[in-house]
């Protein structure tokens, strides 16, 4: 097991470096650079000023030298400096990380719990109206574009009904403390987290339903019935456990997006997380911040792939021992 993990970590480091290099060239292939953007905003777009800025940021060096400097920094756990925000990139990212994790993890839990639960319910009531309802909802959630669902949620629950706050992380200027603050953040969390979770909730519903139905046709379920086991036990112990295998794989995929996957939601709901940081950095050609965010989010994807594989070894003995 330890050997397996070390092997996988070794591979992950190589993949990460490859991703960094690829991202580096991709970003530099886009027209414009931070110096041009900053000069443009300052209204002083003459060649000399831009050239000075470039020299200050090290952008005048050959591309490969820049890459070398950047990679050298990353290997020493230094993600570089954002000239735009006048802060080290790492600090910038870590200041935004908690808000993002709060949002994405809530979405993750909501979608996984409700999705599998609804899937199990639907599979137990195949062909009845509750199954049709759940399947239709799943289709709807699956097909609705995230930004549209987000906008509609804001329009309905916040603008029209005024039940929940529609943007931000907490009420600005209220200066709540303690439990009151937790409650406030919780209220702000509901809409973005639910919206973000809708897509995967739909995927879990459909996957769980299909998987439960498929497993219930397998021979060992008939064996279980022939033993005289009650159908509740058969559902839980024999069908559900086997049906969850593909769901675990999907959950791993979703978990990998915990850091990088919330750009749209954070932008619509003005959520102060990594997604918005990335969005802003993109507009400003803030190379180091973009590279840093990409780096962290790819690392998370790799990490969760590894966790999924380890988890799989626990759920499925065929992989553990085989």
């Amino acid at each position: 097991m330890l050997r397996f993990i070390l092997m996988r970590l070794g591979k992950a480091v190589i993949i990460l470096i490859a991703i960094l290099i690829l991202n580096f060239f991709l970003i530099h292939a886009a027209p414009g650079d931070p110096a041009a953007v900053m000069a443009g905003e300052a209204g002083a777009a003459d060649e000399k000023f831009i050239a000075d800025l470039r020299a200050r940021f090290g952008l005048d060096k050959p591309l490969l030298t820049q890459l070398g400097i950047y990679l050298g920094g990353v290997l020493q756990f230094d993600l570089g400096f954002s000239y735009r925000q006048q802060m080290p990139v790492a600090d910038l990212i870590f200041s935004r990380l908690p808000a993002t994790l709060l949002l994405t993890m809530t979405a993750f839990v909501i979608s996984l719990l409700l999705g599998t639960l609804a899937g199990v319910l639907a599979s137990a009531r195949v062909g009845k109206w509750s199954d049709t309802l759940i399947s239709t909802l799943a289709l709807l959630f699956y097909a609705t574009p995230l930004f549209w669902a987000a906008l509609m949620a804001v329009l309905l629950f916040s603008v029209t009904l005024n039940w929940l706050p529609g943007f931000g992380y907490e009420t600005v200027g209220a200066n709540y403390t303690g439990f009151r603050r937790v409650l406030d953040i919780g209220q702000h969390l509901i809409l973005p987290a639910t919206t973000l979770g809708l897509f995967f909730m739909a995927v879990y519903m459909r996957m769980t339903r299909a998987s439960m139905l498929e497993v219930s046709q397998l021979d060992f379920v008939k064996t279980a019935r022939a033993k005289g086991l009650r159908s509740g036990i058969i559902q839980r112990r024999h069908i559900f456990r086997n049906a969850m295998l593909p769901v675990v794989t999907l959950a791993g995929l979703q978990a990998g997006q915990l850091v990088g996957g919330a750009v749209l939601t954070e932008t619509v709901f003005a959520w102060p997380g990594i997604g918005r940081l990335m969005f802003e950095a993109l507009a400003q050609r803030d190379y180091n911040v973009l590279l840093g965010v990409f780096f962290i989010s790819s690392a998370m994807v790799l990490l969760f792939n590894l966790i999924t594989d380890i988890l799989y070894r626990f759920v499925d003995p065929r992989i553990r021992v085989g």
Binding site: K222, T223, A226, K227, G228, L229, H238, N242, P317
Partner: protein, 540 residues
């Protein structure tokens, strides 16, 4: 014989609308006596499993009993509530199934799956349950029962899994054991062991066994009484000896006649004929795992130093149990995979070394027929296209290829109009004929048939074997027939190569192999053929 423990009277089970007939089981009556093994014999779709499922209250959703009764201990099982059935299942009537691979939950330890039987009926404490599990595993003859108890199903062989199933069925000493094709998926030597085990346990525990099978060989080994089913009806019942030796009904006679006979008069008469295929030193090793970052490497020597020749008009059988490497040999010969070493000389060229255009060209001369008639035809292609595709890929104009497809269909006794139909519109035997037509389309010199009749019912199997023999004569083909079934090999092969663990352990004329096997493993295989003793006795 004592009183019947179970009596089925005029049982009628309705199929859902749109099925090929109205009743899966139609007016069926029989008795099951204490201490006997009753074999229900029939081909697929005869309804033989349905009555068993009805006894357990385990019929599929849309299938329901509409008449008759199943009397057990004075009660009609068809009238029981689900709760009453729960109490009965596993405790008084137990069941084992065909596929030991899939009949156990892959995620649960063997011990827990056995313990569940006690749990289902609220018997014993957890500790006693696990002790009983080990005792039961010991009784069914699993080596190292403590270890097997902690194992997951995938860690056991097919035969061991079937033993686990039997242990589970025996747990509560049921009065009736239903065995639904329990040895069909097993190798012949394993099958012989499991049949013996069932026989011994039945005598020891005095159970009544209802044994469902399609195989008259198995019937000869194990049955006290036999009921033959066709299209949902019982056409003949009687003692095993009476039915086997003196069948009264036409269908029974037809079934028994269709069983390939072990006696073979085939002698090698290929001497002097032109060799079409010469294989020397063929080897193939599978390696899994390993790679850039290490990991556990697993090496399987699937084919080791196999040499054989094949003459025009000759049929060579490659027989062996699962994992013996017989299919790997076939795949190497048609270059579905590349051998690691050895030469495959086909009409003067070494197939093993060819690549690109030359390989494609050479492939025309050696074609394959596969085992599963359902999976080996593309369900989205019409039959005409399936057959014409090969010649067209080799540059034959479309119209010509389709005209040839029609001829080929007629050659394999299918209607010419079949070219516009899809594979799902055909039965298993018909599909296998399409597979044969497809193989013939490229006018090969050698055909490799990999378990080509294994998935077919015995009467259909006989027809397809006849067709192959006839085509071989007509087209002067050389045939390599890969099979696990020695009866089939005896019927069709001129020479036989016996494989074990990747090696050919014995090769010779079919008659010599069956009458005077030299190798110990060959002898084990032949002795394990179900029904062999009876056949020998009958032959005098």
């Amino acid at each position: 014989m004592s009183d019947p423990v179970l009596r089925i009277e005029n049982l009628r089970i309705a199929l859902p609308e749109g099925a090929d007939r109205d009743y899966a089981v139609d007016d069926v009556s029989f008795e099951l006596n204490a201490g006997e093994i009753l074999c229900i014999v029939g081909e697929s779709g005869s309804g033989k499993s349905m009555s068993a499922n009805a006894m357990m209250g385990l019929l599929p959703d849309l299938v329901r009993p509409v008449g008759g009764s199943i009397l057990f201990d004075g009660v009609d099982l068809l009238t029981l509530s689900e709760a009453q059935l729960l109490d009965l299942r596993g405790r008084r009537i137990a069941m084992i199934f065909q596929e030991p691979m899939s009949a156990l939950n892959p995620l649960m330890r063997v011990e827990d799956q056995i313990a569940e039987v006690f749990e289902a009926h609220n018997l014993l404490t957890a500790k006693e349950r696990s002790a009983r599990a080990i005792a039961l595993l010991t009784e069914v003859g699993i080596p190292d029962p403590e270890k097997a108890a902690r194992a997951y199903p995938f860690q056991l062989s097919g035969g061991q899994r079937q033993r686990v199933m039997i242990a589970m069925a025996l747990a509560l000493e049921p009065e009736i054991l239903i065995a639904d094709e329990p040895t069909t998926a097993l190798d012949v030597t394993t099958q012989a062991q499991i049949l013996e085990l069932i026989r011994n346990l039945q005598e020891k525990h005095g159970m009544a066994v209802m044994f469902i099978t399609h195989d008259f060989g198995v019937v000869a080994e194990i049955a006290d009484r036999v009921a033959v089913m066709q299209y949902g009806r019982i056409v003949e019942t009687g003692s095993a000896d009476a039915v086997l030796d003196d069948p009264q009904h036409d269908y029974t006679r037809k079934l028994i006649a269709a069983i390939p006979k072990l006696a073979t008069d085939r002698e090698q008469d290929a001497i002097g004929r032109q060799k079409v295929l010469e294989v020397e030193g063929l080897s193939k090793t599978y390696v899994t795992g390993g790679g850039l970052f290490g990991g556990n490497k697993r090496v399987v020597k699937a084919v080791q130093n196999v040499s054989l020749t094949l003459a025009e008009g000759e049929t060579l059988g490659i027989v062996g149990e699962s994992g013996s490497g017989k299919s790997s040999v076939g795949r190497c010969l048609v270059r579905l995979m590349a051998p690691d070493a050895g030469t495959v000389r086909l009409a003067g060229q070494d197939m093993a070394k060819l690549s690109g255009r030359a390989l494609r060209e050479a492939r025309k001369s050696i074609q394959m027929i596969f085992q599963d008639p359902y999976a080996s035809l593309n369900p989205r292609s019409k039959v005409g296209r399936i057959i014409a595709e090969g010649p067209m890929a080799h540059g034959v104009p479309k119209a010509e290829a389709y005209a040839r497809a029609v001829e080929l269909l007629e050659l394999v006794d299918l209607d010419a109009l079949s070219i516009d139909r899809y594979p799902h519109e055909f039965s298993g035997g018909q599909r296998q004929r399409i597979g044969i037509a497809r193989a013939l389309a490229l006018e090969p010199r050698v055909i490799i048939a990999d378990e080509a009749v294994s998935a077919l019912d015995v009467s259909i199997q006989a027809q397809v074997l006849d067709l192959l023999a006839e085509l071989k004569e007509k087209l002067n083909l050389a045939l390599i027939f890969i099979t696990h079934d020695l009866r089939v090999a005896a019927q069709i092969c001129d020479r036989i190569a016996v494989m074990q663990m990747g090696e050919v352990v014995e090769m010779g004329p079919a008659r010599a192999i069956f009458e005077n096997p030299q190798n110990a493993y060959t002898r084990t295989l032949i002795e394990a053929i179900p029904g062999r003793e009876k056949e020998l006795a009958a032959a005098g």
